[in-house]
């Protein structure tokens, strides 16, 4: 039997032809051929997103619906696998959560949105990581009650537009987008095309994510790219943007061994769930909430210019190995290297001096609060 050709088995997205036309450099990512950068390069794409608007093809991510008879039933079904409160989630509201294994480890991190109106209530829209689709869907199917089913979405693209000009650029074609609040979603027409748009993203900037019928993805993206404020951005800058924003990348900063408490994402755990438990691994997670975790995710700033990458050891000032870098690179906005990783309990206070071991050398660094670059999510002014 001939060895499989990995290139030929890569999946494409509805925007693959356009990426090629735009001169993207394509790389394999989570089983897909995806643009890592366009001709201007990662640095320029990163800066453009922070100053204007970047457009990202994130169609490789998994879109799915949980469908039950009513909101309460569907919400409880998902609550059985996550530590978040979905029962109280309002119409068209979105929430970040994690799927948990029985040890309280994170199977995936994902976004969950309640249907926009009472007419189609009982549906939760999920967006999961491309690399975890199969695992997530299997976990959900095994655990959902009989009256709640998983419907995966295979015929829609997902497009993120992020940056200070993103919403204005989208609203030129879909005026209702300007009315969305942060972590709010609605169905609306974009130049007559039915889209589901949420005011969210993964760069720390204001912006939207748009679920678009596959066949309409290219016209939607071409319409947006015709606006000078919007430039295409690849996975390279997506990674540096989310790192500056202090956001986790599954498989790097989170995995099946890390709990939400260790991962410092307890904002995904609302009060009722923290108190009541009733999610997989609740014993461990509630104990960590009460007593503190054995290790915790922290941000780190290096003093010099050399970056520390994933896998670099973290040493205390007195030379003790206290943890490992899980994401690291250069922060274009800061003009300096940054990293995130896990350190043992007692070593995570901001300001703590540490060393990161890179190619046998100890690079001086400091634990720092995250995000590295302040979030600029849209907050509606209080009336």
């Amino acid at each position: 039997m001939a060895a499989p050709d990995p290139q030929s088995e890569l999946k494409s997205t509805p925007l693959s032809d356009l990426h090629e036309e735009l001169g993207a450099r394509m790389v394999p990512f989570a089983g897909y051929s995806m643009p890592v950068q366009y001709p201007t390069g990662i640095m320029a794409e990163h800066v453009h997103t922070r100053t204007h608007a970047g457009l990202f093809d994130v169609s490789h991510m998994g879109q799915a619906f949980l469908v039950g008879p009513d909101h309460e039933t569907t919400a409880r079904a998902l609550e059985a696998l996550t530590p978040s409160d979905f029962a109280e989630l309002g119409f068209g509201r979105q929430r970040y959560t994690v799927l948990l294994n029985n040890e309280g480890g994170i199977v995936d991190d994902l976004m969950v949105t309640r249907s926009v109106s009472a007419a189609d209530d009982g549906r939760l829209y999920l967006v999961v990581n491309a690399s975890r689709k199969d695992v997530d869907y299997a976990l959900l199917r095994q655990n959902l009650p009989e009256n709640v089913r998983l419907e995966t979405v295979e015929d829609r693209a997902l497009i993120a537009v992020q940056g200070p000009d993103a919403v204005a650029a989208v609203a030129a074609h879909a005026p209702k987008a300007a009315d969305l609040s942060f972590m709010g979603a609605s169905s609306m027409e974009f130049d007559g095309i039915d889209c589901h748009i949420s005011r969210s993203g993964y760069t720390g900037e204001d912006g939207v994510e748009m679920s678009v019928p596959a066949g309409a993805a290219e016209p939607v993206v071409r319409a947006l790219l015709a606006d000078d404020r919007v430039k295409p951005v690849g996975l390279g800058a997506r990674d540096s943007l989310r790192l500056e924003a202090g956001l986790c990348l599954y498989g790097h900063d989170l995995d099946e061994t890390t709990s939400p408490v260790e991962g410092a994402i307890t904002f995904a755990m609302q009060k009722r769930r923290r108190e009541e438990g009733g999610f997989p691994g609740a014993d461990r997670i509630q104990r960590e909430l009460a007593e503190g975790p054995g290790r915790v995710r922290v941000g780190m700033k290096l003093e010099g210019r050399a970056p520390a990458r994933e896998g670099a050891e973290i040493h205390s000032a007195d030379g003790l190995a206290i943890g490992t870098v899980t994401s690291g690179g250069f922060a274009p906005t800061l003009g300096a290297p940054i990293a995130m990783g896990y350190v043992a309990a007692g070593h995570g206070a901001p300001g703590t001096k540490i060393n990161l071991i890179v190619r046998g050398r100890a690079l001086p660094a400091e634990i720092t609060a995250m995000p590295f670059v302040p979030h600029r999510y849209f907050r509606k002014p209080k009336a």
Partner: protein, 123 residues
């Protein structure tokens, strides 16, 4: 003065017994925005194929290998403050190291400019 090229996308320009080494334009295009260059200590002796330097782009770290045996006699200090020079002038001002040639016979294993151009076309 003759210039040679390696399959690892380094150029090496030889003047007497001193060779100046850098990375090619093709290499910098592949790397993207360079944010840091780690250079060896002067006085260090390297064998052909040894790691002589490390180039860090936004995305990843890449090794630069010694194209021939030799002793590092000088490194380009400008790259510490201006690593982006590697993207702007890789085959000129952004040279990495100067080496004292240890084994001139190894130069004949390298490519000339025409052969390197043809090699890059095949990639």
């Amino acid at each position: 003065m003759s210039t040679y090229f390696s399959k690892d996308h380094e150029w090496i320009s030889v003047d007497g017994d001193i060779a100046t080494v850098g990375i090619t334009n093709y290499a910098q295009e592949q790397l993207g925005d360079v944010v840091y260059v780690e250079l060896p200590d002067t006085g260090k002796t390297v064998a052909q194929g040894d790691e002589a330097a490390v180039v860090e782009s936004v995305k990843a770290a890449s090794e630069v290998y010694a194209p021939i045996d030799g002793e590092i006699v000088e490194t380009n200090g400008d790259l510490a403050d201006e690593p982006a020079k590697v993207n702007e002038d890789p085959e000129g001002a952004a040279w990495f190291v100067k080496m004292k040639v240890g084994n001139a016979a190894q130069l004949s294993e390298l490519m000339d400019e025409a052969a390197y151009k043809a090699f890059v076309e095949t990639l």
